[in-house]
């Protein structure tokens, strides 16, 4: 099908506003008489609260109120379990969610204990220093490997241990194939914590209108509609009394899906004081108050035949959920499922335990557990390849699910509660393309030996992964052609930089024959659209995109029907182009879409029974299950063998997310994901001491890679459409970040064969590489 807009690298509609500084971000929201809030957060990872004295804070000029759990009364109950665990047989799951302010005990550094409401943020922060909290510090549980020992302090004293969940999933019979295997390899893998560090921190502004009895909340949430529903329920309002607006947001990446205590408290204060209230999280808070990701330890074993084909995998792992588990088991289930990657694994045993620790809460962040699974599987294959004297491309090629084996049911349960089934895929061309672009064979055979002769230590890596995307339940879209000719599109998901204002507009413009720039997209405003779940799990383009597609088709049908009558022509003879409908071959016999919209909404006269006014349609789309994207990343690095500094010489991404809506936006997703992946692999690590203190809660010590640390990224796309949605699209939001750790490990090992190190942990650093080399020598 030839298209005008769909599939084209069209420049983004939203960029003019963003680049000119005219886009509304949360801190741009100002109201006369607005109050400001600052939170007092626990300096201890684990302590009893004996007493809180707020009296001198209340005396400070400009302080309006100070609240502790006591003053909150009934509001101070545990928050919602946002994602319940999947119904897996034999599952253990203990729900523990936090109260808006800590009651009697704090369980992580950064847990909110009290807050000040004041005329300015400065005064509010000054008053925090006036609050005296009498803590009785307790020993903290920090290390996940010892969290379940007898001696480990209990994070939740009403539970018998720090076990939060226990899940076993298996298929086939690993034990029986293990005995027949030509090769069995076992390793322990560590993957440590990081934080999403969105450029914009979180924030909430709330305005209670006492005359209209309506609450308006501006919130940096990825899920404005669920937030509205929760607020209505918790504040005793009807849903139609609450409007949540998620304006432009400087990055979501997962942690902004939660329902945080502040998201309840700020609106509550606004109602209570009948004044607008603002809270903007600062970077220091963001490091502890916004959720983290990534602490896991895996004991994994792979069994292969003599040709390097996988017979089975056995993996037992621990997952650190921090002090609470409001997001259920999404991350460890993703790790468990994504470990299987693009490979045939006939026998699989996977068991995990989730543990509570006295550390900030862990919830999904771009990749959402997929990194861990991918790291384990890719590393196991690398070790196996070395043992069997195969190269990294060949061992993967031998294990890929063949193209005629789709849909491929892995027969374990995925995060969307359905069986983990890949809808479509064609994996061999992906790795071949990546190997070709980076020159895998010529690098190994020619360039690498030449460089080595010159004393340069260069290495290559190539890894493969899948990304489960586009899960349900549903999203919707309402499309309206306005009398002025503008096409307006409203959808319930929020936007945090994904390019929705353009990619959705492209889908609509294609059907309606209008310029992409003339489609006005509204996302994340519950007054504009109030059914849906949100932007997460790489689902916006798949779920909301297909709703846009079908709604546009419905509107097109209305346009054709009406234009046929107006122009006295058969519908099949009509063309939608440049905002007009004209008769094919007779461009002067035409009518503007805006004029049709005006006539579809008459002021007088009578309409036929059953007629709907206007040219408008609302459609919901819910996929049967998620669509599985895949890709291969390849990289050449140079390692300085003396300083262990690593320089990326080339980085290649070959990616297949089905049909592509806008290749330029897709490339941006890849670049951003790779940048975060590089950060997670080589720069970023949240470091805690043995009492649960976060030691690097600033950008001075938490090393986000900057533009100068990210290499140029070469991308190529293959398109294997998804059969699960009419557009054939799959999600792409997380792909860039998923396999980077595994890639670093393989490439660095390849660069340093003389040192004989094996990298089974993430993240790395030059210092850590130095230690690994020294340990190996000893």
């Amino acid at each position: 099908m030839s298209t005008r807009y769909f599939g084209k690298p069209i420049r983004r509609n939203e960029d003019e506003r963003l680049l000119k500084g005219q886009a509304l971000f949360i801190d741009d929201v100002h109201h006369p008489g607005m109050l400001h809030v600052a939170f007092l957060r626990s300096p201890y990872a684990h302590a009893l609260i004996r007493n809180i004295d707020i009296s001198s804070a209340l005396e400070r000029t400009g302080v309006v109120a100070v609240y502790t759990a006591k003053e909150l009364g009934d509001l101070c109950t545990p928050g919602p379990l946002i994602v319940p665990p999947p119904p897996i047989e034999g599952i253990i799951f203990h729900t523990r969610t936090q109260t808006p302010l800590a009651v009697d005990k704090v369980r992580y550094v950064g847990e909110a204990v009290a807050f000040v409401v004041a005329e300015t943020r400065y005064i509010a922060e000054d008053a925090l220093e006036d609050i005296y909290v009498d803590y009785e510090p307790l020993e903290a549980t920090v290390d996940i490997e010892t969290a379940q020992s007898q001696k480990a302090p209990l994070v939740h004293e009403d539970l018998p241990s720090n076990l939060a969940a226990h899940v076993i999933q298996q298929k086939g019979n690993y034990k029986s194939v293990r005995d027949q295997a030509a090769l069995v390899l076992k390793r322990r893998f560590y993957y440590d914590r990081g934080t999403a560090a969105a450029m914009e921190n979180r924030g909430v502004v709330a305005q209670w209108d006492g005359k209209a009895h309506r609450l308006t909340v501006w919130d940096t949430t990825q899920a404005p509609i669920p937030v509205r529903n929760a607020l209505a329920s918790l504040l005793g309002l009807s849903e139609s009394q609450v409007r949540v607006i998620a304006p432009f947001i400087g990055g979501g990446f997962g942690p902004k899906i939660m329902f945080y205590p502040d998201e309840l408290l700020i609106p509550w204060i606004s109602m209570r004081h009948n004044r607008p209230v603002k809270w903007i999280e600062d970077r220091q808070e963001n490091f502890v108050a916004t959720t983290h990701e990534r602490g896991q330890v895996h004991d994994a074993e792979i069994a292969l035949d003599e040709n390097g084909c996988i017979l089975g995998v056995h993996d037992i792992f621990l997952h650190d959920t921090g002090a609470y588990d409001p997001y259920g088991l999404t991350i460890p289930i993703n790790s468990q499922c994504t470990l299987l990657g693009p490979y045939k694994v006939p026998n699989y045993y996977s068991e995990f335990q989730v543990v509570f620790t006295n550390k900030p809460i862990v919830t999904p962040y771009r990749g959402a557990g997929r990194q861990h699974g991918t790291f384990v599987m890719e590393r196991l294959l690398d070790v196996a390849a070395t043992e069997l004297n195969l190269d990294a491309v060949e061992i993967r090629r031998r294990n890929f699910i063949p193209p005629d084996d789709f849909p491929h049911d892995h027969k374990i349960m995925y995060q969307d509660f359905s069986s983990l089934t890949y809808d479509s895929g064609n994996y061999i061309p992906t790795i071949e393309k990546a190997a070709e672009i980076i020159g895998y064979n010529s690098f190994i055979e020619e360039e690498q030996p030449e460089l080595r002769k010159k004393g340069r230590f260069c290495g290559i890596g190539i890894v493969s992964y899948v990304e489960g995307t586009g899960i349900g339940p549903y999203e919707g879209a309402r499309i309206t052609i306005e009398p002025g000719g503008t096409v307006s599109l409203a959808t319930g998901i929020g936007t945090q930089g994904q390019g929705h204002f353009t990619s959705f507009a492209q889908i609509v413009a294609e059907h309606l024959g209008v310029d992409v720039a003339s489609v006005r997209v509204v996302t994340g405003d519950t007054d504009a659209f109030h059914w849906g779940t949100g932007t997460f799990a790489s689902r916006g383009a798949v779920v909301a995109g297909n709703a846009c597609n079908e709604a546009a088709q419905k509107v097109r049908e209305k346009v054709l029907k009406m234009a046929g009558e107006e122009l006295e022509a058969a519908e099949k003879d009509l063309v939608l182009e440049d905002g007009f409908v004209h008769v094919v071959g007779v461009p002067q016999r035409r009518i503007a879409l805006g004029e049709l919209a005006r006539r579809a909404n008459p002021l007088r006269g009578s309409v036929k029974p059953g007629t709907e006014p206007g040219l408008e349609s609302t459609v919901y789309f819910g996929p049967e299950r998620g669509a599985t994207a895949n890709g291969v990343h390849a990289m050449i690095v140079e390692v300085d063998p003396q300083t262990l500094m690593v320089e990326i010489k080339r980085y290649v991404v070959v990616h297949d997310c089905g049909t592509v809506i806008n290749p330029m936006i897709l490339e941006g997703q890849m670049h951003g994901g790779v940048a975060q992946g590089i950060g997670n692999a080589f720069y970023e690590q949240l470091m805690f001491d043995d009492q649960g203190q976060l030691l690097n809660a600033s950008f001075m010590d938490y090393l986000l890679p900057t533009a100068s640390d990210i290499p140029p990224i070469e991308t190529a796309h293959l398109e294997t459409p998804s059969p699960l949605n009419p557009l054939g699209v799959k999600g792409a939001g997380e792909a860039g970040a998923i396999p980077v750790g595994a890639l670093f490990a393989q490439a660095i090992e390849n660069a340093l064969p003389d040192f004989d190190i094996e990298i089974n942990e993430m993240p790395l650093s030059p210092n850590r590489l130095f230690e690994l080399i020294v340990e190996k020598r000893v």
Binding site: T643, N696, M700, D701, L703, N767
Partner: protein, 293 residues
């Protein structure tokens, strides 16, 4: 991350600055470029009662060649000015070559030479470089004026010889000698970060190739910027061979420093980096000196 309240003065003359220092001394912080102080105030790690902004004092903003041939810089001269100034290139090329290692250009546009020296961060480039360049600092107060050698100035972590009522006003650097060679290098996690370790060298070769002077400055390996004294002694009076340079680098790493461990580098890794960087800067510096001979 809002600073605690403070009293702010922005005097127009040097005399007013010195009077304010007498009046507020211990309670006051001087604000120059603010690139270290302002973040510390926002974290409330620094809570000065009084902030004396010296950015309006034009007499502290200059670069010139003194009649003695020394390079003179006013304390509030922006680092970006130092980076581009012809006199710096001519008289202290090592200083000029080191400037791009300092953070990022927007930070150098605000950061001042005097601010960085007075802050005395052992991980910063300028304090260590002042040792290598044998710089002298002019400290003035309402009652006196004195010159201090860089080697006497840095006392401990973020501590200098400056008295509370004194202002670091001027930096004087002797001109690079004819047969000198120099080099600077550092290892940082990201471009623009404080270095895990940095090393600067300034050497002089006699016409017969004997090393007559050698300064090696090291950063991020102790509480203060420091000179690698033992390593320097090894070189002086010798004709620097590759073996001697390696020996000097070993000495710097294992006799001259006793670095600590932190989140980003263990003591062992810092020693390794010190050895590698010392060797690299010495090689480059001696090669340069040979070429100029």
């Amino acid at each position: 991350m809002k600073p605690a309240s403070f009293k702010y003065y922005a005097p127009e003359t040097l005399d007013e600055v010195l009077e304010l220092l007498v009046a507020h001394g211990m309670d006051a912080n001087l604000l120059a470029g603010g690139q270290s102080l302002v973040p510390m105030m926002n974290f409330r790690l620094a809570q000065p009662v009084v902030l004396i902004d010296i950015n309006k004092i034009k007499s502290l903003d200059f670069v010139s060649e003194h009649e003695t041939g020394h390079l003179r810089c006013g304390a509030v001269t922006r680092q970006s000015t130092i980076e581009k100034h012809a006199d710096v290139q001519k008289l202290a090329p090592l200083l000029q070559e080191t400037m791009p290692f300092i953070a990022h250009s927007p930070i150098r546009n605000r950061g001042t030479i005097g601010g960085s020296i007075a802050h005395a961060d052992p991980a910063a480039e300028l304090p260590a470089l002042m040792l290598v360049l044998e710089a002298r600092f002019k400290l003035i107060s309402a009652s006196r004026e004195r010159w201090v050698d860089a080697s006497d100035f840095f006392i401990d972590l973020f501590m200098t010889d400056r008295e509370p009522e004194e202002l670091l006003a001027e930096i004087s650097i002797p001109p690079m000698k004819k047969h000198a060679g120099w080099a600077f290098d550092e290892i940082s996690r990201r471009s623009g970060d404080f270095a895990l370790v940095g090393a600067g060298a300034n050497v002089h070769l006699d016409p017969d190739g004997t090393c007559s002077e050698a300064k090696i400055g090291l950063m991020s390996v102790g509480a203060t910027p420091m000179l690698a004294d033992h390593a320097m002694q090894l070189l002086i009076g010798q004709k620097p061979s590759e073996t001697l340079i390696k020996e000097a680098a070993e000495t710097a790493a294992h006799q001259d420093i006793d670095p600590g461990s932190d989140l980003h580098a263990s003591a062992a890794y810092r020693k390794q980096l010190t050895r590698v960087l010392t060797e690299r800067v010495l090689q480059k510096a001696f090669n340069r000196a040979r070429k100029r001979n």
